[in-house]
């Protein structure tokens, strides 16, 4: 067994892409497939640097379609396989992801959102929320963790592999260009030393024994002949997804129980939201903060509780209502009104959120 890069708990100061690469190694990921795209490149750079030392494999493919489909192949072979992408690459990645979604293949994908639509900017956005949660010609049977800090990038990258292999839904770490490129501190650790058991992968193909003699062949398809067959499969998926949703859903909340106005945001914007809310609360203003960590499934129950008590939700996101649509879908029928603060492709600062809150509260 090759040694691991992280032994005890230790504080590091590095970029988010570096964090993801380390976390994947520590999650016992076996192989990364990838195609370069800014701002996720350094995940591949760090992974390829570490790979020989820790017995890991890497394949740079010819495009994101191939990166996604080779990742699917890696998972079918029973390895913890992952890839990373962004922007137009994420758009392309939806084709292989839709195959994984249809076949419940536990691929893991790190997405570092950049500006859209199209090539737009290589910098930052939260415009890949709809794409990552519901992309492709399917129903979004996926799990999406939206991280806000380097600590979370580390924690949830490790968690993503476990979630994927436990529930067999494609699982995403949704970051962004800011998180990818910025440096801040975090504590890295060996998950097993903290009692986090790493779920073991299982092979779909290439198991021991001769198919048809020692065991039935492992044979898988994603194509159905009649509507009824498909309908049945999807109903079953829906049932299973709904059943695990409450267990998978995560959120962070602060003073949301007792505030008239609650700021709802996700990912890196929630840092600004939290800063603004905390500051205002210190100044005696009763505002709350709610942040879905899983965007799929949404923490529906908790969000509804908030939306039933609060008068107003201020939804802040670096996109035009992509989070807002998920929120409205979850809380339809609740009493809270919704105020948008949408800045597609651009960062949102605490000052801006603060100012908006003040203007809403009058």
């Amino acid at each position: 067994m090759p040694e691991k890069p992280i032994k005890g708990d230790k504080r590091y100061f590095m970029t988010g892409n570096e964090v993801v690469a380390y976390a994947a190694v520590m999650a016992n990921a076996d192989i990364m497939y990838g195609y370069p795209i800014t701002p996720q490149n350094e995940i591949m750079h760090y992974w390829t640097r570490m790979a020989p030392k820790y017995g890991k494999e890497f394949l740079q493919t010819e495009d994101e379609l191939s990166a996604g489909f080779t990742t699917v192949g890696g998972v079918l072979a029973g390895r913890k396989a992952f890839t990373a992408t962004a922007g137009p690459g994420n758009t392309l990645m939806q084709e292989p992801i839709s195959m994984a979604e249809a076949m419940r293949l536990p691929i893991v994908v790190a997405v570092q959102q950049r500006g859209g639509p199209s090539t737009a900017t290589v910098i930052y956005s939260q415009q890949e929320v709809t794409l990552t949660t519901f992309g492709g010609n399917g129903e979004g049977f996926r799990i999406v963790y939206s991280t806000a800090t380097h600590q979370e990038l580390y924690d949830y990258t490790i968690k993503a592999f476990n979630t994927a292999w436990k529930y067999r839904f494609p699982t995403f770490i949704l970051g962004d260009g800011y998180q990818a490129k910025m440096r801040e501190s975090l504590t890295m650790y060996d998950p097993e030393s903290r009692g986090i058991e790493l779920v073991s992968p299982e092979a779909y193909v290439g198991m021991p024994g001769t198919p048809g003699i020692d065991r039935p062949p492992g044979q898988y398809r994603n194509t159905y002949n009649v509507e009824e067959e498909l309908y049945e499969v999807l109903q079953q998926y829906q049932k299973e997804y709904d059943a695990i949703a409450p267990e998978v859903a995560e959120f962070e909340s602060l003073g949301a129980e007792d505030s008239d106005l609650v700021v709802v945001s996700h990912g890196v914007v929630s840092r600004a939201a939290k800063e603004a809310v905390m500051e205002l609360r210190e100044a005696g203003v009763k505002v709350g903060y709610f942040r879905p960590i899983t965007l799929r499934p949404m923490p529906e129950k908790q969000l509804r509780e908030v939306a039933n008590k609060a008068k107003t939700l201020l939804i802040a996101e670096s996109a035009i209502g992509q989070l807002a649509r998920l929120v409205k879908d979850s809380i339809y029928g609740c009493g809270a009104g919704i105020i948008p603060l949408f800045k597609p492709g651009a960062g949102i600062t605490a000052e801006e959120i603060s100012a908006k809150i003040k203007s809403v509260l009058g």
Binding site: I31, D63, L76, A77, M99, G206
Partner: protein, 252 residues
């Protein structure tokens, strides 16, 4: 003396008769593949991937682990499997549309990277599964649903020379051949060599097979053979194009 079913051992009998049309060459290719697998004794190690295209109908064809992928994407799926578990013998099976059109970036790049997998591509000069549209391999003058007045090479070019293209970008270690269902024995030989090349860890192995599609050609048995043997061979030369011993001459 009695007569047994003349089926390759590696075929799944319980899924037969298979789902291909009467007279479809896919059955012949998969028979040759089955026999090659039997003879090489790799039923336990082979992993079979089929494309979208009529090849998808073979997802449960063999007693072999198998995955039905997307249109054109069997190459990366099998590549991904092989990279993750080099113990398996990866077989990617696809049509001319899957291999030369929508999946051609995967074909040429897997070839260039010398992926240690075996690709079998069935050339039936059109898109069978979707009802007979033009393919990169459609013959000049051939009528298809999207070349209703016959393919005009002035407007859409000549049939793609797949193995020749693959030969031009592979280096030593690769195996490239073109067989035909009209010559089952030779075809099996090519497929077997392509698998052996992988077993020996040499490199990328590619076999195109000229095949029949009576359904979309709208041919009876006689014309089916004729189109395959007379017309297609005018553009597609059957034989071995690159064997592992040879070196890549062009561009060096």
């Amino acid at each position: 003396m009695s007569v047994q079913l003349a089926m390759p051992k590696s075929w799944r009998v319980d899924t037969k008769p298979h789902k291909f049309c009467p007279g479809c060459g896919h059955g012949l290719v998969l028979k040759a593949l089955g026999e090659a697998i039997d003879e090489l004794g790799i039923q336990d190690k082979a992993v079979y991937g089929c494309d979208i295209g009529c090849s998808l109908l073979s997802w449960d064809f063999f007693n072999i682990d198998a995955i039905q992928t997307h249109h054109g994407r069997t190459t990366p799926v099998i590549t991904g499997i092989k990279r993750a578990n080099p113990e398996v013998i990866g077989i990617a099976y696809m049509g001319d549309g899957g291999g030369y059109a929508i999946g051609s970036q995967h074909l040429v790049n897997a070839a260039a990277r010398n992926e240690k997998i075996t690709l079998i591509l069935v050339n039936n000069t059109q898109y069978g599964m979707t009802g007979g549209q033009m393919a990169p391999t459609t013959m000049p003058g051939q009528k298809t649903e999207t070349s209703p007045y016959g393919r005009d090479p002035e407007k859409t070019g000549y049939p793609t020379q797949g193995p020749e293209m693959v030969a031009a970008i592979t280096q030593e270690g690769a195996y490239v051949a073109r067989g035909t269902v009209a010559n089952p024995k030779q075809m099996k030989g090519f497929i077997k060599k392509a698998l052996e090349n992988q077993i020996n860890g040499r490199g990328f192995s590619f076999v195109e097979i000229l095949s029949t599609c009576p359904t979309n050609w709208r041919t009876n048995a006689e014309d089916t053979w004729k189109f395959l043997e007379k017309d297609m061979t005018k553009y597609f030369k059957v034989g071995e194009i690159k064997v592992p011993e040879s070196r890549h001459e062009e561009g060096k």
